[in-house]
Amino acid sequence: MDLLIVFAVVLAVVAFVGAPLRGRARGLDPDAAARAELADLEAAKDAKYREIRDAELDQRTGKLSEEDHRALDAELRVEAIALLKRIDVARARLGAAAADASDAPEAATPPSSVG
């Protein structure tokens, strides 16, 4: 009985772990570096949006004056735009510039971090 259980476990593990190797061979992704760079930029873009959102919350909770917030927000948006441009370049390099609509305007008014 013990032997049977062990045998079943070994079979199941081999079948499960070996499954990707039985399919069509997939070599190294030649665009891996470009994809990774794009993913990094996307992550940086999300972080930048969070920063813009936090600055807005800081302003609404009185931590930043209207004037300070305007200056910071402009600065952050310049950085965000620079990131978007780099993302466009990275996408173009991957030949998928037109594919993503993820950054297309979806909402007329940006939602607030508090509202």
Binding site: A39, D40, G62, A104
Partner: protein
């Protein structure tokens, strides 16, 4: 089933080695199929180890003494709850728990990141599988939980009485979850360094695991402290014991990492610092595991001397050298993308906080390893005690708590005079009012440190309450909601921020409890006979009567005490000391029931103002005569039965008589007014330690809880729209 267990461990070891090899081969030569196969190996490892763990647990629950580990750590009289937890009271079982948790958390991390960090993940998988293979090597070749005994005993040794405490059910799994979860950011950091993908993505992918590790380790530490307070019978919750310190080290550096990665995520700064911090945290987590198992430092929490020290030292050495080499090798890729805008900014506060946390970690490390360091240089093992730790830790704790109040008030990038006025006035006023109010409390400033600390805590609490209030008002202004709904709404939408603030408040409360309870504690050791009283910190404590009970599991001798103040009854305390039977037959048939290991059940009246704590240490000397007499009588009876053929019925009758005799001996403790030793402690605000911990962990859960995907997408889309419009304008 032991054969199945052993085979499962070998299969798991092979799977871990395969996962390590397949991931590396896939990353550098073989392509995605090998990478996917390597990732599946991690899932398979989790499945196989779950089966192995279930086999071990089943052996404990069935009291299968053919398993060596069950015979030496459980017994038929051990309650079921503790049979289940006894599995990790052993070296072998705890190693299996460690690697099982590693496999579970690794599977979760790899499943959640399977479409991201594609370059980093295979190397991270290899690192995680290296840990898995290492611990499985230990369980297969050094400390196998499935070792069997040729002649299983009819009864096991039983679980160490000190471990029979509810906190022990969760303390080790939480600690190990913390340690193993810290392996995940460690592994991804190695992956990011090797593949030179050192930007925000690996941090975004693993920061939640870092936070979960911090939370689990913190809960584990607090559960350990609670166990110490209510079980060990010395009345304290933290003794700067090497094993306690070992768990604190990665928690401190992990706390620093959780804060500083926010700066890297936003500004691309502190990359060398963050890489070093997370590598140090992962290494310290393994160091903590090593300290519990190696026996190199004396600790009540350690497993004692073992042969596992050398393999652990090799692993830790490889981790330290590999980490340093990687950071130096990739130093060009770790350059900061920006510089600090101002020394008066949240980034600067985080940086200062990081420096203080690392300084704290270094002090704790130095004090913990001082016995070894002193032995190397002087040949004599010298150790440092709590006063040494307090001397350096207390001032830095002041700074950390103050910074936890300042941080939420300071905006990112730069602080202006106007925002100082807006943010700091109320918290500073709260601190000043607290200090002033303490002037009116007689004796409060007799010890300036805790009094000053109370003001700092008031500052932190006021800053957090102010931030919550302002967030709520801002939400109310835009959403027209009631105050509670608006508060919940703003916290839900900004979980990391407000979760962090709640953590700061909880931590400040916890440390206030520590400061006040330790500084104003009144302790008294006294011997009392029933009817006698003593006075501690204005409380009259009367030893009302002795108690005794005898069960198959243990003999408990205790006391009922009445606590009153000014003639008014305050509480009734019950404390016992449990004596567990020894397996040493030379102590005699009756004597062995009083000569085994013992544990204390403290009498505790916990309150928001103060805890009244007591423990009894019954004096067994007056019982020695009657125990000796019982030993002789039953030895003669046993000899007679053996000579007469040792019939089962005669033995059963003898054991029944023995049990009656033991109960009668225990009852003498009640019927005779012998003196018993007591320790009484009155600690103000001690309960706030646990309340603060609960607040801290609720804040951690809030920060950890993921925002609904739809809400995330909506928010991102909104900001994307605004920036996209800006972009369109700039390119027209």
């Amino acid at each position: 089933m032991a054969t199945v267990g052993r085979a499962l461990l070998i299969i798991a070891f092979a799977v871990a080695l395969y996962g390590l090899g397949a991931s590396l081969y896939g990353a550098f030569a073989g392509g995605r199929a090998w990478v996917d196969s390597g990732r599946r190996a991690v899932y398979a490892l989790a499945g196989v180890l779950t089966l192995a763990f279930a086999v071990m647990e089943a052996a404990f629950l069935r009291s299968d003494f053919s398993f060596s580990v069950v015979a030496s750590h459980s017994s038929t009289t051990t309650p079921t709850f503790y049979k289940a937890t006894a599995a990790w009271s052993s070296q072998e079982g705890s190693l299996l728990l460690w690697v099982w948790l590693l496999s579970i958390w690794s599977s979760l991390a790899l499943a959640l990141t399977r479409r991201r960090v594609r370059e980093v993940a295979p190397v991270a998988t290899a690192v995680l599988m290296t840990f898995g293979a290492f611990f499985l090597m230990l369980t297969v070749f050094w400390a196998n939980p499935f070792q069997t005994l040729a002649q299983p005993p009819s009864e096991g040794t039983g679980l160490n009485p000190l471990l029979r405490h509810p906190a022990m059910m969760f303390h080790p799994p939480m600690l190990y979850s913390g340690y193993t979860l810290f392996s995940i950011p460690f592994a991804f950091a190695i992956g990011a360094l090797v593949t030179r993908r050192l930007n925000a993505e690996w941090i975004v992918s693993t920061r939640r695991f870092a936070l979960a590790a911090w939370l689990c380790l913190g809960i584990g530490i607090v559960l350990g402290a609670r166990w110490s307070y209510t079980e060990l019978g010395w009345g304290g919750y933290w003794a700067w014991d090497p094993v306690e310190n070992a768990s604190l080290l990665p928690w401190l550096t992990g706390t620093a990492f959780i804060h500083s990665i926010m700066i890297q995520e936003r500004r691309g700064m502190l990359k060398v610092w963050n890489a070093s911090l997370v590598l140090a945290t992962g290494t310290l987590a393994i160091l903590g595991t090593f300290l519990v198992r190696s026996g190199i430092l004396d600790s009540i929490h350690a497993f004692g001397a073992s042969t596992l020290g050398v393999p652990f030292l090799i692993l830790i050495g490889a981790m330290v050298l590999g980490s340093v080499a990687l950071v130096v090798w990739r130093r060009a890729d770790l350059r900061s993308e920006h510089q600090l805008d101002s020394l008066l900014s949240r980034e600067a506060v985080f940086l200062l906080q990081n420096v203080v946390l690392v300084a704290l970690a270094f002090i704790v490390w130095w004090g913990t390893f001082f016995p070894l360091i002193s032995e190397i240089f002087t040949g004599t093992k010298a150790s440092v005690g709590p006063p040494w730790f307090d001397k350096y830790i207390v001032p830095l704790a002041f700074v950390i708590v103050a910074l936890s109040g300042i941080g939420p008030l300071v905006p990112w990038r730069r602080l202006t005079l106007a925002s100082v006025r807006r943010g700091f006035v109320i918290p500073l006023a709260a601190a000043l009012v607290t200090w002033g109010a303490l002037l009116l409390v007689p004796g409060a400033w007799a010890q300036p440190k805790p009094a000053a600390f109370a003001g700092v805590v008031a500052f932190v609490l006021a800053s957090v309450v102010q931030e919550l209030w302002r967030g709520m008002r801002a939400r109310q202004a835009s959403a027209r909601e009631s105050a509670p709904v608006a508060l919940a709404g703003v916290m839900r939408r900004n979980r990391r921020r407000y979760g962090g603030y709640v953590i700061h408040a909880g931590f400040a409360v916890l440390l206030l409890g520590v400061a006040i309870s330790s500084s104003f504690q009144h302790a008294k050791d006294v011997s009392l006979t029933p009817g006698q009283s003593t006075r501690v910190d204005g409380f009259d404590i009367k030893y009302v009567r002795a108690t005794a009970s005898a069960t198959a599991e243990k003999i408990s001798l205790g006391a009922v005490l009445d606590v009153s103040k000014g003639g008014k009854q305050v509480a009734t305390l019950r404390t016992t000391r449990g004596f567990y039977p020894s397996q040493d037959v030379t102590q005699g048939i009756v004597g062995r029931f009083f000569g085994g290991e013992s544990e204390s059940q403290v009498g505790l009246r916990a309150g928001f103002g103060r805890d009244i704590w007591t423990v009894i240490n019954p004096n067994l000397t007056p019982l020695a005569g009657i125990i000796d007499q019982g030993n002789r009588t039953f030895a003669r009876a046993m000899t007679g039965i053996v000579r007469g053929g040792a019939s089962q019925q005669a033995l059963t009758e003898l054991y029944a008589l023995r049990d009656q005799a033991i109960a009668a001996v225990a009852h003498r403790f009640v019927s005779n007014p012998w003196p018993a030793d007591f320790r009484f402690i009155v600690s103000p605000l001690a309960t706030w330690i646990w309340i603060g911990a609960i607040i801290t962990f609720l804040g951690g859960l809030l920060a950890l809880w993921p925002a609904p995907a739809a809400a995330r997408r909506r928010v991102t889309a909104g900001y994307a729209a605004r920036v996209a419009r800006e972009l369109a304008r700039t390119t027209q």
